[in-house]
């Protein structure tokens, strides 16, 4: 850890001293956490879809099940619109009474290993994510490279950068943390908005954690809303991943990969 901090400090300091002449490199902590989080995210995405396949229906509020209407039903797995409920019994008098019904079919369900692997990967994401954020704050990595400067946050500049991207006029890679405005904004949104949202909405689905910290259920408007938000936050992260990989390829794949792995983007 100490070696990491020292390394990170040394790297950011060197980039600070020569702001424009030689481009700075990705620090070791950035490179290591980048790939650990990438691997965790891929595992989380894969197991998350496996878990969702057991019940591919999304709801809003606290409750939702096969006997209540869905907000959205995803056409994944044979559990999609799987009928077969019998012995329907009303709990109370009256037509609008909630009911009980027995499921008569075997569903697709791989959640035994799916959920355990999901949480194992989540531990890596959360622990490495917290280390990355703390190091990023204390070394000034975020201030220097990620948080857009006030002078940059002008609609004109933003519009210009967006148009350049849409026309696929992509700047050549530097292989280091010299980011454009759109890049800063998207990295900022992923690190400080989308990833915290996906983690917190995940925690809001835990019966034990919400017993201790009921504020989570209030913030997300109930368990099923948290589950739906968790899914859409994942979709945003997935879109980011695809756009990110596309941009890495367009801006010089070899140089970018050298920059994010061995930390030296200069080809010998």
């Amino acid at each position: 850890m100490r070696a990491y901090l020292n390394g990170a400090l040394a790297m950011t300091e060197s980039s600070e001293s020569t702001p424009n002449s030689t481009p700075s490199r990705h620090t070791r902590i950035v490179r290591a956490s980048h790939w650990i989080v990438t691997l965790s995210f891929i595992l989380l995405a894969f197991t998350g879809v496996v878990i969702l396949m057991a019940h591919p229906r999304l709801y809003w509020g606290d409750t939702g099940n096969d006997l209540t209407p869905a907000l959205l039903e995803l056409p994944i797995s044979r559990n999609y619109k799987h009928g077969g409920w019998d012995n329907q019994v009303a709990f109370f008098q009256g037509e609008s009474s909630p009911v009980s019904a027995n499921r008569t079919f075997d569903i697709f369900n791989k959640n035994g290993w799916g959920r355990s692997l999901h949480f194992l990967a989540a531990w890596f994401l959360v622990i490495v994510g917290v280390i990355y954020v703390l190091v990023g704050i204390f070394t000034g990595h975020f201030r220097r490279h990620i948080v857009p400067r006030l002078a940059e946050l002008k609609p004109g500049l933003f519009w210009h950068d967006l148009k350049e991207h849409l026309r696929l006029r992509i700047r050549a890679a530097t292989g280091g943390p010299q980011y454009g405005l759109m890049q800063k904004c998207s990295y900022f949104a992923v690190v400080f908005l989308a990833l915290p949202l996906v983690v917190l909405s995940g925690l809001a689905m835990s019966p034990a954690i919400t017993a201790g910290y009921p504020v989570l259920l209030r913030v997300f408007n109930g368990y099923q809303s948290a589950r739906t938000i968790h899914f859409f936050a994942f979709l945003i992260l997935l879109l980011f991943l695809l756009a990110h990989v596309f941009m890495v390829i367009k801006s010089g794949f070899r140089r970018q990969m050298r920059g994010m792995t061995i930390g030296d983007s200069h080809e010998n």
Binding site: A32, R57, F92, N111, S116, L117, F119, I262
Partner: protein, 252 residues
Amino acid sequence: MKTDELITRRNILIAGVTAVGGLVLTSCSKQLPPTYGNILRMGDTFTYAAHQALIPGESLVKEYSHKDISSFPATGTTNPGDPDKPNSSELYRNLQRGNFADWRLTIEGLVARPGSYSLAELKRFSARTQITRHTCEEGWTAIGEWTGVPLSRVLDAAGMLPNARFVSFYSFDDWVDNIDMLDALHPQTLLAYGMNGRDLPVAHGAPVRLRVERQLGYKSMKYIQRIVVTEEFNDGGKSGNIQNGWAWYVGI
């Protein structure tokens, strides 16, 4: 040799995380279930240790109001008396015919007064009614009103011995599961005999099911037949969750 150095650094970080995990796990290993060396189970155990450290032990789950009661799917075994289904029980079928008048819940193991309770005897304990959310591991949820006796009262009456650490449950449909003392003595952990103001329906675990509100639905075992208090962790063998690939602790 930059490449070599990078690999070393990355390994240091992974090793560091593993070491921290290992330290946390060993420091409180006396309270933890076995992992069988399975890496997935180690993650579950890490979650269990983290929950014990970070969540106040007595915190209650949210209780809802009567208007929040929702439709409630019955899944898994929906009638252990049905001879055409797997895990069917002739004993249960006979008890069901007598409207569970002859049903008795056995309590044994590390208790001063082992014995059994009829349904009427369980109903003589002061009852608790709570409207809570059932969170199924599949992803669906349902809200129901449960009436029953808090497990802690029955354990008190049986005189639990000081070295007791786990409470195991055996069901008519051949499941074995257990919970730790934190959950067993939790005020919302019930032996429930009523649902939504009526007797517990067969589909939902009649005559008595467990409610473990701070874990996923499958810990709230239906069709309870026998309770055994132990000091050693009992994985339930082929009838338990762990050997069937399911996590033991699912506070999640």
